[in-house]
């Protein structure tokens, strides 16, 4: 049984198709990496799953219930899905602790005391316990993004969406964020990552999907995609990445 099912999803911006009939199943505890060039539809797909974008055709199911049903309450759906953005999007007027406890307290009805305890536990686990009272602009990019991940998982979502979470980071700070994601995988979190970090995708993914022009061209184990890609477009993409790496 799959936790998330994406069934023939189309997304149109004006007269440009961004997603062209995407099918994808994600099993519980599975980590799926979406790779592909910028503009291939990775981010849009994640935003559709989180209902930040409305789809133009197809359906998305979470725990076998259709979340794209027009009668479904988006807020109820989002309660079960966490999302981390490329640009962190922490709330600048709140401390780290308030950023993390906002949703547990206001949306999930957790008592403030309890929410704070849980937040401190998470901060401790990810090496940020001394930052609880800081404001986001006093943190490095890597620290901000780790806080954003904690904020997204503080409500214990069924599914975590990570949208190029290391793309805005200094190379030296990427590893600390990837470490957090690895730890979440070990804890059994189901995740979909859009990423440009091929090494990390290869290392952490159960399934790698290659998107090209809004089409899911190829999917398979990291081994298969990175060593023996079938589709010429996949080969070309990986070749270009390799070349860029060598320069």
């Amino acid at each position: 049984m799959s936790l998330l099912t994406i069934d023939g999803v189309w997304k149109q911006y004006h007269d440009h198709s961004v997603l062209r009939g995407i099918d994808l199943e994600v099993a519980p505890h599975e980590v799926v990496c979406l790779i592909g060039a910028s503009g291939s539809g990775k981010s849009t797909l994640l935003r559709c799953v989180n209902l930040l974008e409305t789809i133009d055709d197809g359906a998305i199911f979470l725990d076998d219930a259709e979340i794209t049903d027009v009668r479904a309450d988006p807020d109820e759906v989002r309660k079960r899905i966490g999302m981390v953005f490329q640009s962190y999007n922490l709330f600048p007027h709140m401390t780290v602790l308030d950023n993390i406890t906002l949703a547990p307290r206001r949306v999930h009805g957790v008592r403030p005391r309890e929410a704070e305890e849980q937040a401190r536990e998470l901060l401790d686990r990810f090496g940020l316990s001394d930052k609880a009272g800081e404001y986001p602009d006093r943190l490095s990019g890597g620290q901000q993004q780790r806080v954003a991940v904690i904020r997204a998982v503080a409500t214990q979502p069924r599914l975590l969406l990570l949208d190029e979470v290391t793309s805005a980071l200094d190379p030296a700070l990427v590893t600390e964020v990837l470490g957090v994601i690895r730890e979440l995988k070990d804890a059994g979190m189901t995740m979909i990552l859009a990423t440009h970090e091929m090494g990390f995708a290869r290392d952490i993914a159960d399934t790698v999907c290659f998107l090209d022009g809004g089409v899911l061209l190829e999917r398979g184990s990291p081994e298969q995609i990175f060593t023996a890609p079938e589709h010429p477009r996949t080969r070309e993409f990986l070749q270009r990445i390799l070349e860029a790496r060598r320069m």
Partner: protein, 338 residues
């Protein structure tokens, strides 16, 4: 000021082991510190630079820096001299031009009469207290009305279409009508309706007119503040399953309100002056008192008295607004000079 020169290769007063790496980025000093500490956690890079950091504790200004500072001091002395000279010159020219004008003795007699000033001051001051009362009450009501209208305009659900249309109509109409016209219309129009319970007190009517007029401006200020909050903040809040209302209340409004404080204070400085327009309805506020005195003595000095009182109130407010704006700017740039 000298801190800005910290990036100079001669000596680094800040013991950052990686000054070279951080100096190029426009990040604030706090970011630099955070980055530095994060790196020292990891494998220690380049031991030579670490030693440079240690020796920075006993930093002696290089000759180059001493010369640079001397040059900067000389330059600031020069600009101070030029500024003083040009100010004095401008003041002298202005005074000479005004006092040499043919009508100056008459103006001095009718507008700058110390006796008339002293005589009018108590009454004008008493009237001015009413001005203060008018705009204090109006300010609170304007903030509430403006915020409500701005929030209504942000509602997306089709259910609220009539409310939204009403809000648009309100801002369009009341921003278009001159304040003094509105004071006349409300002040004489509302009592003329002879409605049961409608206010007839000129001060109340004046406040209503001011609130209606300024509410439309302030609503637009709030709306621009709300729209200035980046959509990614909304996306983040909604992705946490906060509702539209919760997103507004906890994420968007706190940021929006902080940003619009300077323009709001600017509008309120304007409101303080416009409280004098209530005079046309007859209550004995500052301008009206000045009119009465002027009419009985044929001397216009009481107007100057009233004007000075208004200035005495708006100038501190203007300085406070500047102070807030400067503080915001400092926060944005992280303490840099540009």
């Amino acid at each position: 000021m000298t801190d800005d020169e910290a990036g100079s290769p001669a000596a680094a007063p800040v013991p950052a082991p990686h000054a070279g790496g951080e100096a190029g980025s426009p990040a604030s000093s706090t970011d630099g510190r955070a980055g530095a500490s994060a790196r020292t956690d990891g494998a220690s890079p380049l031991p030579g630079q670490g030693e440079a950091g240690a020796s920075a504790a006993e930093w002696v200004k290089s000759e180059r820096q001493v010369r640079r500072e001397a040059e900067l001091r000389a330059r600031s002395r020069r600009s101070a001299t030029v500024a003083t000279a040009s100010t004095v010159l401008a003041a002298v020219v202005l005074v000479v031009a005004v006092t040499a004008s043919p009508g100056w003795p008459r103006v001095q007699e009718t507008f700058l009469n110390p006796g008339a000033f002293a005589e009018a001051l108590p009454d004008v001051l008493r009237g001015f207290l009413l001005n203060i009362k008018i705009f204090l009450i109006a300010e609170v009501l304007i903030l509430i009305l403006g915020l409500l209208v701005a929030l209504v305009r942000g509602l997306r659900s089709p259910v609220f279409f009539p409310l939204r249309a009403l809000a648009v109509l309100y801002t369009d109409v009341f921003r278009g009508v001159p304040v003094i016209l509105l004071v006349y219309l409300v002040g004489f129009g509302v009592p003329a309706l002879q409605l049961q319970g409608a206010p007839s007190d000129p001060v109340t009517l004046g406040i209503i007119a001011l609130v209606l007029s300024y509410g439309s401006y302030v609503a637009e200020v709030f709306r621009s503040g709300i729209e200035s909050v980046h959509p990614s903040q909304r996306a983040a809040a909604r992705s946490l399953a906060l509702t539209h209302g919760q997103t507004m209340r906890h994420v968007v409004l706190p940021q929006a309100v902080r940003r619009v404080v300077p323009p709001l204070l600017n509008d309120f400085a304007s409101l303080q002056k416009d409280s004098a327009l209530v005079a046309v309805l007859g209550p004995l506020e500052s301008l009206r008192q000045a009119q009465i005195h002027a009419a009985s003595s044929f001397n216009y000095t009481p107007y100057l008295t009233s004007a000075l009182l208004f200035i005495a109130l708006t100038v501190p407010m203007a300085r406070f607004t500047d102070h807030l704006a400067a503080r915001t700017a400092r926060r944005r740039t992280g303490g840099g000079t540009i």
